[in-house]
Every structure is written in structure tokens, then in C-alpha cells.
Symmetry: C2
Subunit: 229 residues, 2 copies
Amino acid sequence: MAVNDGLARLVARAQPRHRTTTEFVEATLREAILSGVIAPGTPLRQEDLAETFGVSRMPVREALRQLEARALAEFHPHRGAVVAEISAADGADIGAIRMALEPMALRLSLPGLTAADLDQAEELIAEMDGEADPGRMGELNRRFHMTLYARAGRPRLLALAEQHLLAADRYLRFQFAALGYLPRSQDEHRALLAACRAGDADAACRLVEEHVGQAAEQLTAFLGAREAG
Amino acid sequence: MAVNDGLARLVARAQPRHRTTTEFVEATLREAILSGVIAPGTPLRQEDLAETFGVSRMPVREALRQLEARALAEFHPHRGAVVAEISAADGADIGAIRMALEPMALRLSLPGLTAADLDQAEELIAEMDGEADPGRMGELNRRFHMTLYARAGRPRLLALAEQHLLAADRYLRFQFAALGYLPRSQDEHRALLAACRAGDADAACRLVEEHVGQAAEQLTAFLGAREAG
DNA sequence: TGCCAGGATATTGGATCCAATCTATCACCC
DNA sequence: GGGTGATAGATTGGATCCAATATCCTGGCA
């Protein structure tokens, strides 16, 4: 058996439609870490990963370097990499970054949002209503947020925002795995969308900041209690 | 002669006091790109870099991967990497990110700032007054800002803020190379420091946002004009 | 004369091999 | 019996080698 059954399945399902092997390994590993298939703290042995992917150690090494730069893996020279740990402090950190980036993205995007964008956001809210699977839920939530930010015309800002949305989702899945349920925030989503439809930038920015802050607060409360005892 | 004289000098001066060769190459290359020693768009040939550093191609490859993840180099499969280009759009992007991150960092840091921190910030302002070298100037400016954010207790947020502060400084050096002078903003620095001393979080955040916005605006005006003609 | 095809060349991507270093275990000394 | 040091094993870091791919130049053809 490979190191990690879940990862092996992910690799088997994944279409290596990437241009280079390194890209393929990086994308698959990132997905595995973000989705929780590989638990925080898991050692990432190059040899094992290479075997799982059916490649040599080299693309694995390059992929791990990129994951390190994205804070998804921690490197210790001559000791190897481990999947980034989860902590209340880091969760609060990610929350603070989101609270800074997302209102800015929304403010820049709002004037350019089309009726079609807003309709799609509404549809995503509706889909979330009936969704129980945390993976699908996170995906829908991410798409909802990014739909609202899409017209900001700032690729770097959007990439950073999405990166930290994904990081937050990783924490959320972790919370789900422990608690068995997901905190819902559909009312906040609806209020946010309404403010966007009204074109009220100040209200929308305030709502998204509060919305992100709420999620971060619940998360740190959960993680703080977990770390304390 | 090596590919790039400036880089060769940087390598010669650099102390390889890093634990691995890859770290050494990455740090030196990053410094070279950020300081403008290697111009935007310059191809980063692995073989040439390896020779310049006196190492094999492998640590160079890993270093380039990390630079890519930090948006300092652009990869094109089978075609190599080039130093990230400079553009008005990207400058505005970086400015928007700074305008989001830095007020948040300051707000979190402000309650924890000590008198010593504020005195050091004041000293850095004084040093900037008499500084003509753009490299030193950027360094002092970066330290001034980071001193004010240091007590935020959010490592990821601070790392992101510093990263984009450095990216902005790269743009500023580029502007200096073309214009021959640096736009000063010492009045804004002093006003910002005064607000921090007064403990007025709202004012301080507003000032830092305006300050960053000003710089970004000047930059995009310069780059926009340059791209137009 | 301009365009397309094909091959030569340069450069990167990936695999294998060797060296450096960290960890764990075990013996030995205090 | 506990702690320290040496040694062996495992694992990563770095170098070299080979394969794949992109680019560029040249020659033929319309």
C-alpha cells in the first residue's frame, strides 16, 4: 500500500493533463492538503510520494518547494517536509488576511459586476442551501465569493484572496471533521448579495468583513478550546 | 564574463551562510531581482546561473520554483524563466494589496507598540531625511513600516505585507532609474507616526492607506505614461 | 518573393547516482 | 541505572546524465 490511501485514490483519479510532471504533482498535492486528504503534520517523504505518483523524486522535490512558498508545507533542511500544521493562531492569521483582502477586492469589483454575475452568485447561494457535503460546500462558497470579486481587474489581489479562501476552507473542513457539522452563514451571504445588488459599496464591504470575521472567530474559538484541553 | 556583472558581484559579496545551497541561491536571486540588479524580462538561464553561483543546475531550479511562487519570476514550460515584468497594471495590483494589508497590520499592531518602537520609527524617518541612495532609502522605508506593524502578532499577515512592500520598492527603484529622483513622502510618514503616538487607530489606518495609495498613484501615472508612449 | 516544412541546436524537464546530514539505536562509562 | 558517545540506517541535498520540447535557421516550393 502507498503511504496514503486517500492520496493514492486522488492520484488515480487525477488526469495528468498538465504540461509538466511537476505541475501535475504540485496541483494534486495541493488539492490533497487543502481538502484534508493528507492530515496536518503528516511527513511528506519524497521517495514515497514519488512512488505514489509513479514518477522520480525530482518533480516531487520541485512541487514541495512550491508548496512551501504557499505555506502549505513546512521544510526542515535534511529532515524533510511535513504538511502545514493547523493552529488557532494561524487560523486567526488567515482570517485577518481575508478581512483585509476581500473587502478591497469587493470594492474594486462592485462597479463592474453584471446582472449575470449577481444572478450566478444567487444561484450559488441556492445550491449551498441543499448541500451537506463539506467538500462541495467549500467549493460553492469559494465560487460565491470569487464571483463577487471577479471584476476587480487585479489578478494578484484575486489570486491572494482565493489562496486564503482555500486555506480557510482547509480549516473549515478540519472543523467539520471534528464537529460533524458546518456552521452556516447563508443569511450573511444573502445580505451581502443584496448590498451588492443595491450597489452599496460601503455596506457590502462592511458585510463581507463582518462575514469573514465571524467565520474566523468561530474557528479560533473552536481551535483555541481544542488546544487548551 | 558571467551573464550578469551585477549578479556576479552580488554572489561574490554574499556570504553563503545558509544551510542549503538552494536557500543561498534563492535568497541571492531574490535580492538581485528586488533590487533591480537583474532587469525585468531578463531570461534566467539555468546553466548560466549555475555557473555564476558555482553550483549545479539543480539548486537553481528549485530556487526558480520558489521565486515563481512569489511572482518574482515567470515560468514558461520548456522555455525557461524570465524575471517578472513591470507594468502599470501590476503596480496598481501591488498597491491595492498594500492598501488592504497594511492598515489591517497597523490596526492589530497599534495597541502593542512600545515607546521604543515609536522612537525607532522616528529615528528611521530622520535617517531617511538625509538619504540619497535609493537602495538604502527603500530599506529604511521598509523598516519604518514594518516597525509599526511588528506587534500585530500575525506572522503570515506580516510576511505578506513585507513581501509586497519589497515588490513596491522594486517598482520604486525602477522609477528612480528612469527619473533620477525619488518622490518623497516624509510629511506623510511624520503624520502617520504622530497618529500612532496619539493612539488614534482610525486616523493611523486612514493615513497609512492614503500614504500607500499616493505612492501607488504616482507609480501608475509614471508607468502608464511610459507604456502609452 | 513570401511562406511552409523539416531538421539542427539549444535549453529545459526528468531520472539516476553519489554525498552530506540527521536520527535512532546500542554499547560503554560514570 | 542513567546518560553520553559512536555507529548504522534512513532520508534529503546536490551533481551528472539522458530525454523531450521549443526555437531558429535553411531550403524548397508556390
